[in-house]
């Protein structure tokens, strides 16, 4: 179905709720003196949007707004994930000491706008739309990263982010212009048809174009060699924003990456495997990027002593794991990747919540602040962080293990044995730095100068929910995997 502007609107309700939320916050911010309720309003908007995604009637798939956006089950999966990330980020913002002194109206309005932009990224059916959405996400992210105006680290992070982002998106749009030149269109579906016309495929030109485009998308998922910004930005940004970037922005990046590299330029063959364009060897390139990303992320994380930085490098490595599902070119792999992104959302957001709880009480983010945490009244956050970190490592009884299980299953099934070996060696290496905070919390005795971690019902509640989800989905993961399974269908036009 190719829907026009008005007919599209009824499939656009979740996005419209977010926009309404943005407008409401901006207006109310002008009218009322007490800004403390604006966070709650943002939370309601994000939750309502999530609800609207859930309640939307099933549809086989359609183009919205004259083929600018595509509405299919793949988009639903990522909209759900991004909305969940927004809910967590807003929830954390309400409970964060850092954000309390900022301008509440602008903060929440931009956060919701950023969520809206990520939705668009996951739904783009057109390179121009994809570029605009990606830029929209980037611009909002720069502002949110630098939101702590009196904090030099925050400003430095925003500036670095801006410079890297500018270069990456400039490179990407240049690549898009090559694709436009080769195929004469920006529409994913038309590009696909043009590139698969047998005979005159300019192999080298297409390959260069894809590499250029990959720069922008790789930058969004923070894969090597476009990952440089991530450690500084994650460390400098307020913790709720770090979380939002780590889980939300990354998910949106994966959505766009998958939608462009699979339905737009590859073909689904029988048996659920994908064939790339003949002669254009981007899968090989991505295979190397995947292995380098996880290895680099893990090795760099070994030396970190700041928790946010440690988790930043860890999230680079995690993106590498998720890419394992991408490079095996099969529906099995994509499903594993979808599942892993959900698992990653639960465990990584959880870890950041604990970091925030500790930072709220002590103002510290270094690993030393966790010394003897279990023995100075912080046994509950200590246990929760342990669960999240073990899950990130991929130890059974956690959702992270199930995610890795599916990834490795897809890799082994696709007979990528070297990738499998690199992947497991990385898992072992990552254990070393994930254990570091755990050892600090449990094996060390407090010195007395670490301060106490106070109980905050609001944040502890979120932490508890995420910790329970990590365990419960580690034992009973059917609902998630069947959701991921349903989401494997891409709408590529009426058949």
């Amino acid at each position: 179905m190719d829907l026009g502007n008005l007919a599209s609107l009824k499939h656009f309700i979740p996005e419209m709720i977010l926009v309404a939320g943005v407008l409401a916050i901006v207006l109310i911010d002008l009218a009322v003196r007490d800004k403390s309720r604006l966070g709650a309003l943002a939370l309601i908007a994000a939750a309502a949007s999530l609800l609207a995604i859930g309640l939307a009637p099933a549809l086989p798939g359609a183009w919205l707004f004259h083929r600018m956006l595509v509405f299919d089950s793949f988009a639903i999966y990522f909209r759900t994930l991004i909305a969940l990330a927004a809910v967590v980020a807003i929830w954390m913002s309400i409970g964060s000491e850092e954000v309390k002194n900022c301008d509440q109206g602008e903060y929440y309005a931009i956060l919701l706008a950023s969520t809206f932009a990520m939705f668009l990224m996951a739904e783009s059916a057109n390179l121009l739309m994809a570029y605009l959405a990606l830029e929209f996400v980037s611009l909002t992210s720069y502002i949110l990263t630098g939101f702590l105006r009196h904090n030099r680290r925050s400003l430095e992070a925003a500036l670095k982010y801006l410079i890297y982002g500018g270069v990456a998106s400039g490179t990407m749009i240049y690549g898009m212009s090559w694709i436009f030149g080769i195929t004469g269109s920006l529409d994913f579906n038309v590009i696909n048809k043009a590139l698969s016309t047998p005979g005159h495929l300019p192999v080298l030109a297409v390959f260069i174009a894809l590499v250029l485009i990959l720069t922008g998308m790789g930058y969004k998922v923070a894969s090597a060699p476009f990952h440089m910004w991530a450690p500084d930005v994650y460390t400098g940004a307020p913790i709720p924003i770090t979380t939002f970037l780590a889980v939300g922005s990354k998910a949106a990046g994966f959505a766009l990456l998958t939608r462009f590299f699979f339905p737009a330029i590859s073909h689904l063959a029988a048996g659920g495997s994908w064939t790339a364009l003949a002669g254009v060897d981007w899968p090989q390139l991505l295979l190397f990027i995947c292995m380098i990303t996880m290895t680099l992320g893990n090795l760099a994380a070994l030396q970190q002593t700041n928790m946010k930085r440690l988790l930043a490098y860890s999230s680079i490595a995690q993106a590498g794991y998720a890419l394992m599902g991408f490079v095996v070119l099969s529906n099995d792999g994509i499903r594993a990747m979808l599942f892993y992104l959900f698992a990653y959302y639960v465990m990584d957001a959880g870890a950041f919540v604990v970091v925030m709880i500790v930072a709220n009480s002590t103002g510290r983010e270094d690993v030393d602040a966790y010394r003897g945490l279990a023995w100075r009244g912080g046994i509950v956050p200590a246990l929760a962080l342990t669960i999240f970190l073990f899950s990130l490592t991929g130890i059974p009884l956690t959702v992270g293990f199930i995610g890795k299980f599916y990834l490795f299953a897809a890799v082994i099934r696709g007979q990528f044995y070297i990738l499998a070996i690199v992947g497991i060696l990385n898992s072992v290496v990552s254990l070393y730095y994930y254990l570091k905070p755990i050892q600090m919390m449990f094996f060390e005795q407090p010195r007395g100068d670490e301060g106490t971690v106070r109980f905050e019902a609001w944040n502890y509640g979120l932490m508890g929910v995420l910790a329970c989800a990590t365990i419960v989905f580690g034992l009973y993961w059917s609902p998630i995997i069947s959701f991921a399974n349903r989401s494997l269908s891409f709408f590529t036009g009426p058949t």
Partner: protein, 499 residues
């Protein structure tokens, strides 16, 4: 009891939940809850022993519930002769080591909760017949062990704990890859170990060899086989007494158990080809190298740890023999090593609790001050040396006899090491217990009732199995002879079975 295996596995979890729910004011009750959780386990183990049908190699007391149908994963538990002997051992060692833990006086709730979780993990490994389930339990076991060493261990506990975790995780992930390989290349995708074993001929020999080696490394780290053994002395030295007992008594057996359960049963053709090198030669190196290292130690606990490595070598050698005597001896040796080493580690713990050091040369003449303790130590040392009339004699002789037909040279080394073993044990005995009493230790009390209570049952079992090994061999024989036959049949030449 129709759910005996589920019960025996998850009773400790119930205890763990109860302990975690205790208010802090009642934390002294946690040890009694732990004891109360291990008693039903021991009773169920005895019940299983009583009703186990020794005439068949088929799986018994099986329970199967589908868990993840789309990946053919199920909760499938059951026992055969090999696993039931290990379940008995686990129940016994856990019961003993709970009492051996009473000296723990820091964060007791956490300690006993972890101990019980470890218990469930170990039982789970031995009852699982679904590879996925097996793997879950296998990993679940790591976590409590890591915390038990890391929180309640000695001065270098952090190093020991992380080394233990890294080594074993490396092994586990290799097992994970091998497991996925077996799943995707089987005739019908399944994780059911009995089904995989039944269709083992489906795998090509080249594939079998690769998977076999991956699995072997994973399991060998746990045994621990040379050259993957270096985590063990560190872990033992830093672990509290009861944890050393569990580590040596049960955990090390998981490695050889896994090889029998997966490598032998699912990949018999590769086993037949590779066992001489990976089990025979490495096993012999373990025997000789472990004994030599033990001789060089001045730390009492490290010495016992290396002797453990040496004794596990006999298990591997017996498995490489492919004779009924060899494989029976190997599994019996697993059981016997569990009981004897448990005694040895408890004995080390007794003296450490009093002297707060383990330097062998720093003692002397303890026999005058602690006669009962010395007598029991002497008994355990003789058992460790494999003196006739004690359990280890039977199993080591079976191993050597069984292996003689296939690997005579290795047997010569294995048998000759008995002299080294006697050497380091007697020398240690002399330095610690004989000679003039060191003045510092003249007011050490002898064994307390609790300590004696943890040692005597093990000693009795060692004696009983020394004169009546059939008590365990009877359980094993049918299953092991069948397994051995499966491996031998892949060679095409049916070698005459010698009992």
């Amino acid at each position: 009891m129709s759910h005996a295996l589920t019960l025996i596995t998850f009773v400790p979890i119930a205890g763990m939940v109860l302990i975690l729910a205790l208010p802090d004011s009642m934390k002294n009750a946690s040890k009694w809850i732990a004891v109360a959780a291990t008693i039903p386990q021991l009773l169920i183990a005895i019940h299983l022993y009583e009703y186990f049908d020794t005439t068949t190699s088929a799986v018994q007391f099986a329970e199967k519930v589908s868990w993840m149908p789309s990946y053919h994963i199920s909760y499938f538990v059951g026992v055969d002769g090999i696993s039931i002997s290990m379940i008995l051992l686990t129940a016994l060692i856990m019961f003993i080591s709970t009492f051996a833990s009473f000296g723990i006086n820091r964060a007791e709730k956490g300690y006993y909760a972890m101990l019980l979780m470890l218990d469930t993990g170990m039982m789970g490994v031995f009852v699982s017949l679904d590879f996925f389930l097996f793997y879950i339990f296998w990993e679940v076991m790591l976590l409590p062990m890591y915390f038990l060493i890391g929180i309640w261990g000695g001065p270098r506990r952090e190093y020991a704990a992380i080394k233990f975790f890294l080594y074993t995780l490396l092994g586990s992930v290799l097992i994970l890859l091998a497991m996925l390989g077996l799943y995707y290349y089987s005739a019908t995708p399944t994780f059911d170990l009995t089904e995989l074993a039944a269709n083992s001929s489906h795998y090509s020999i080249g594939f079998q060899r690769i998977v076999w080696i991956a699995l072997f490394i994973g399991f060998a780290i746990k045994i621990p086989a040379f050259p993957f053994h270096t985590w063990l002395p560190d872990a033992h030295v830093e672990a509290p007494t009861a944890i050393s007992v569990i580590l040596a008594g049960v955990l090390l057996k998981m490695g050889t158990y896994g090889i029998l359960r997966v490598n032998f049963a699912v990949l018999p053709a590769a086993t037949y080809q590779l066992a001489w090198l990976f089990l025979g030669v490495i096993g012999t190196i373990n025997i000789v190298y472990g004994a030599m290292c033990a001789m060089a130690q001045t730390d009492y606990k490290k010495l016992i740890a290396y002797s453990s490595i040496s004794h596990m070598g006999y298990v591997m050698l017996g498995m490489a023999a492919f004779t009924a005597a060899g494989i029976n001896g190997a599994v019996l040796q697993m059981f016997n090593h569990g009981t004897i080493t448990a005694m040895l580690f408890i004995l080390v713990g007794v003296i450490y609790d009093r002297a707060h050091h383990r330097e062998i040369n720093g003692f002397g003449g303890l026999a005058q001050q602690m006669p009962i303790y010395t007598a029991i130590t002497g008994f355990a040392f003789f058992a460790g040396m494999g003196l006739p009339g004690m359990s280890a004699f039977i199993s080591e002789v079976l191993v050597l006899l069984g292996a003689w037909q296939t690997h005579p040279v290795m047997v010569v080394f294995g048998a000759a090491t008995a002299i080294l073993t006697a050497g380091y044990l007697l020398w240690t005995f002399q330095r610690i217990y004989l000679g003039p009493l060191n003045e510092k230790y003249k007011d050490f009390p002898d064994l307390s009732f609790r300590e004696a209570f943890t040692l005597v049952p093990l000693g009795i079992i060692v004696l009983i199995l020394g004169v009546y090994p059939h008590a365990i061999l009877g359980l094993l024989n049918t299953s092991l002879v069948h397994l051995n036959q499966v491996v031998l049949s892949t060679s095409g030449a049916a070698v005459a079975m010698v009992r």
